[in-house]
Point group: D2
């Protein structure tokens, strides 16, 4: 498929799948292996232990499922809930919309709390619902930590605070697809019951692993949850965990070694440093957008996302044309606007294995693109704003000091 | 995880995951890409078209699902059937057992037809059931083409013959996990309604793709099937097929390119030649087993499998010890006996990207292993029997003539 | 050696070894092969034919030698000259200096024509020498097409013009290490007798291949040249060319396949487009340097190099500190100042498989570095100047139109 | 170049280039890097230290030269000798012949001691020459440790004994290309002055590194040796060793990382275990040859080689046909007979990263080939003889106990 070859690197700035570090590509460059030999369970054991660290949990039980984020969603829901269960779910963009669609098709009674796209979850409404629900009919709160379509980060600590305030026993289910391992996420501290992510996001792997982590309360719920499930059933995993062979069906050998390498790189950098790096990249991007005179789709600073920025374009510009042209002229991959914001925003994904100069190259490209499509940008302005900030904030690479 | 390093190649003879050809490993050695760019849909289009060839269908609709064989099973069932539906399912070994377990947990009314492990599906019982079912309460026949646990290949043409004979409209669902692309399989000719396989079997890829192909009749059934499904729902795929973007959620970029390379190699060799090669490998293995004075777990020649041979060991030997020792001493990976035949059989997988000298190396290893565990084998006997046959039957490699 | 790991891509802007395209890395990701099988000679044949295209020769004979540029130099000299032969050689920077050192140690009588570093070869002196040399004591003119240490491109057409003007039969030997396949180079048209390059430069491969091309006149000279040589002896290659096996000793299988992939990419982009791309990158870099208020080490526009720019820093700055810091803080690899210009210049290599956004990321990094070391640069200024030019000049990627 | 694709693994049994272990292929799967950054010198330092271990020297100085074995030969000779120097050199096969050809072309006065091909170096003649040379006109003894063309291993300890006996100061130069890291080789103990090998042999890397190790006496000799050299000049390396930057010209980044991985695997297995493994493989091969009723080209047991076996075929068979057919029918790469033994022998290389089952697969293939070309071999006989020995002698893989 070389017909799309362009000279030099592809600049991959979609919010997933993201750039894979070379050491991870290397680790996956291998033949298959017998997954029933002693080697794979031994490897798996280290992975399950270490995966908990990126969820910041010690009491949770992780599942590494050969699926995508959509499958991870299904795993979270079907293992903890029964058909007809009432759940409160926040609709704030395309990915929360898709999750809600799944929730409805899985026959839950979904109480949708909608916000304008560009805003975060409306927690006032949640508070009201919790307050009213003295009978505890609400079985779960489903929330996307970071809405990838609009670049909105919800405040999970506040969700927990409300649940605690109203002493509400609802399960707290979190889509962390574009947040975990990039944004501050604390499963245990925030009392999250199920958290999940996909390998192709901040973990910087290929697609193919849904990582789901269940709290003891979620595990307990799975014993009585009546949703039909087999492939996604945690109980099969738990059975093989006990046996020490770990896998109810064949895992991807390559992804297991890749995950090992990815975690090693993350721990070498330090998870807090990884999160700080994402904050630098997000801040720099927002400064550039401001310098260009454009608006962030995210309406308030409290919701700003450090993994993806959705940029609003003036009405006379079709944002899809920017994305198309980015790929055709600059070998730059940007994210499209989806659904309600199609044509109105383009997205810069700044998550995963990425550094500051890569981002500045992207921002320089966006400036040329804006000019290409007729927006009167001052070339260099965004890069200047971003690099003024970065030059003051980038630390030395610890391994090179 | 180098603590298991052994000098030289690992001899991988489990019946999956199997050896990946070097050109396929190379094709997958790549960074992620934006799957919404024009490149991935263009690639996907060729894949969907070419995947049909390995199913031998022109009228079928393929789905390439980021899952394993277990997920492909679930996809086949939930898209075509409704809870409570009566299905006839054949239990002949561990993998048919697992599929039946899934069928039951998905709330179908499973009419299990059991055979002794080592025998094929009892089609006489099927005939009787079809004859009796004038009300057409049987909604589907579920059968494993090749039972990987016992090395038994069922005769699918005969199943179709019975369905036709009794003019029975039941759907014909086939697990082709360890058959398709290695054994003779003809979806259209045999009127199979759903056939499925996994990438890590005869396609010789990493685990991570469930390939499912649906007949027009199966697609029609999916419109009314009431089983709950989202991740595995064909309708989401069909929606994106129409849009020409193909993917309802993120695919593995690496596996797509890997599948392209795998299919190219298969077509270059010629699918019929691939099948003939598997027949050579299977025949050679059986001749060796006979020369060793051991019994094939498969009780009759009509069920002999060309992709995996389960070898019965004398009662005074624990077959698991053979498998353990193979890995520890010879860097050879053999298949364990599973469930009812645990300790009684070991399995030689001879499927996927494999040639005759690789197999002969394995057979020589098995001879030493048999001696190791106290079986009075004549060293060289199996290799002699196998190579006497092979030397008469191996063709020249076409590309090298 | 993970102790130097830094998050994200390394930004490789040394003037060699340069970035390897992913398809080339893939092509080299392979086991060894028997180089005496029919496959390798067949592959080699296509390589020798296609390598001529990048030298722009039809009459030349190429040699692909398992060595570096230094070895390629030695091959060019020892095959065409005899000890004591008088040669005219231009000293304009570190690499021409090293070549002259080699020439002297190989016992040639080297007539060195020195220029100030930052200037090109003094062709007036050459003219005078040629005019005076009516006895034709000058056996060869040795010239570096592009001096990598100072970013100076010599005018080879003018050298040929002088040789023709004085009807001088001297051999015309050209180091094209950092020019061929990136700058305009015309072996046949300019009557170059030996041209050479290294795989790790504009061909964008790993180090390990010296590519040398000899004109019929050079081949003729090799028959009588008395310099001692065995490993570098063309006659051994020519003997095996005739046999059709091509290799007097074992080649690197990986580099052969890598070269095939590299040439395919170059021809797909179009050699003229490759050269035009280098001109864009060089121009953009020079515009940035100007915008920063810094001086190009290259003193006149006629010598500007499109593959490397050496940037002079003010006397109060140590350019080595910029290079050190680039690696330690920004994961950016810049070229050091060498020898006479050590501490005075840093170098931006812009050759090989590289695109515009990569360069802009580098330029943004250099701006931050300049600020880091106390130079009062206006952040964004260089990027603005470069992108103003680039936005007007980048073509659409042909394969994506 | 897929036109030579054959299903399954290529069985690579030429005596170089040999199979590369997967972890080494992985280690080399990488982009280029700046070789002047701190990372590469730090890596190089460990390599130079560890390379000494495979030469079994503590006092030697290693050079890792971007060249082949032929270049390593030239490096050994030109750094230690002057034109006209008398050297005693043993001609026992094609590779010693080629080295002697090089010695002559480098203008040494070569005193050739010839043996019939299939015999080892005639040390009686050496003794006589040393005894007669009271004036010490012999400046060096050049000997191939293992002649790859005939599978003959010379006794280096005896050479040293003779030199000591006659108190002769001649330098002792050893081609260890197909021995070092596979056969017992002791640089310090045997008083070897220059030893050399190539990366594509027992080190199991791609071609491209000549590894040369010089004793203090050889280094001393290099100060006065008058042979012309630049690329191969040790003094350039020594200069950069002192600077701590190590490289006088650009090394292959990929091969450096590959060498690191290769050495790690060798040390993990244990050098003595590596040598013992080669002895097992050599012994097994010889037992098979005997069982087939064929003769080893090597005439006496004392010269048997554990890295390559040259098998004599009956006069009515053309051994080249065996090699051709091996590749065309069985995807097996065997070594051709070279020069004097062309058509008379085929060679089985059993060196490098190879295990016993791989060898048995090869031997099974050779049996079929012998039958193919009309030799009345008893199929299975060689495998039986080899595996009877191996089954008694293969140790458990230490990392898997």
């Amino acid at each position: 498929m070389d017909y799309v070859y362009g000279p030099g690197r592809n600049h991959l700035f979609v919010p997933g799948p993201v750039n894979i570090p070379e050491p991870v590509i290397r680790a996956m460059n291998r033949n298959n292996e017998d997954y029933r030999s002693p080697a794979i369970p031994a490897l798996t054991k280290t992975l399950l232990e270490d995966v908990k660290k990126i969820f910041k949990t010690t009491s949770g039980t992780p599942f590494i499922i050969p699926t995508t984020g959509t499958g991870a969603w299904e795993s979270a829901l079907t293992n903890t809930l029964s058909p007809g269960d009432r759940i409160v779910s926040f609709l704030i963009g395309q990915f929360s919309l898709l999750w809600i669609d799944q929730q409805q098709r899985l026959n839950f009674n979904v109480d949708v709390v909608e916000s304008e796209w560009g805003q975060g979850a409306n927690l006032d409404v949640l508070a009201a619902k919790l307050a009213a629900d003295t009978a505890h009919t609400i079985k779960a709160i489903c929330i996307v930590h970071n809405e990838t379509a609009t670049g909105v980060t919800n405040n999970l600590a506040n969700v927990r605070r409300l649940l605690d305030e109203y002493r509400h026993p609802a399960l707290f289910l979190v889509d962390g697809v574009s947040s975990i391992c990039a944004l501050d996420f604390r499963m245990d501290e925030w009392g999250v019951d199920v958290a999940l992510t996909g390998s192709q996001k901040a973990l910087s792997l290929p697609t193919g692993m849904g990582l789901v982590c269940a709290s003891p309360k979620a595990l307990e719920a799975s014993k009585t949850a009546k949703s039909v499930r087999v492939f996604f059933d945690w109980s099969d995993y738990l059975k093989f965990y006990k046996l020490g062979t770990y896998w109810p069906y064949t895992p991807s050998i390559q992804l297991l070694y890749g995950l090992r390498a990815a975690l090693d790189l993350i721990f070498e950098e330090g998870l807090e440093n990884v999160i700080a790096r994402h904050n630098r990249l997000g801040t720099a991007t927002r400064l550039a957008v401001e310098a260009w005179g454009l608006k962030n789709c995210t309406q308030k600073e409290e919701w700003f996302s450090d993994t993806v920025t959705a940029v609003l374009v003036p009405p006379y510009i079709d944002s899809s044309e920017i994305v198309r042209r980015a790929w055709k002229r600059y070998n730059l991959s940007l994210g499209l606007g989806l659904n309600k914001v199609a044509g109105k925003v383009f997205r810069i994904g700044h998550l995963g294995n990425l550094n500051e100069l890569q981002l500045l190259g992207c921002l320089a490209g966006v400036e040329m693109l804006l000019k290409d499509v007729g927006y009167p940008v001052k070339l260099g302005s965004g890069v200047a704003a971003a690099s003024a900030y970065l030059q003051n904030n980038i630390p030395l690479i610890p391994s090179r000091i």
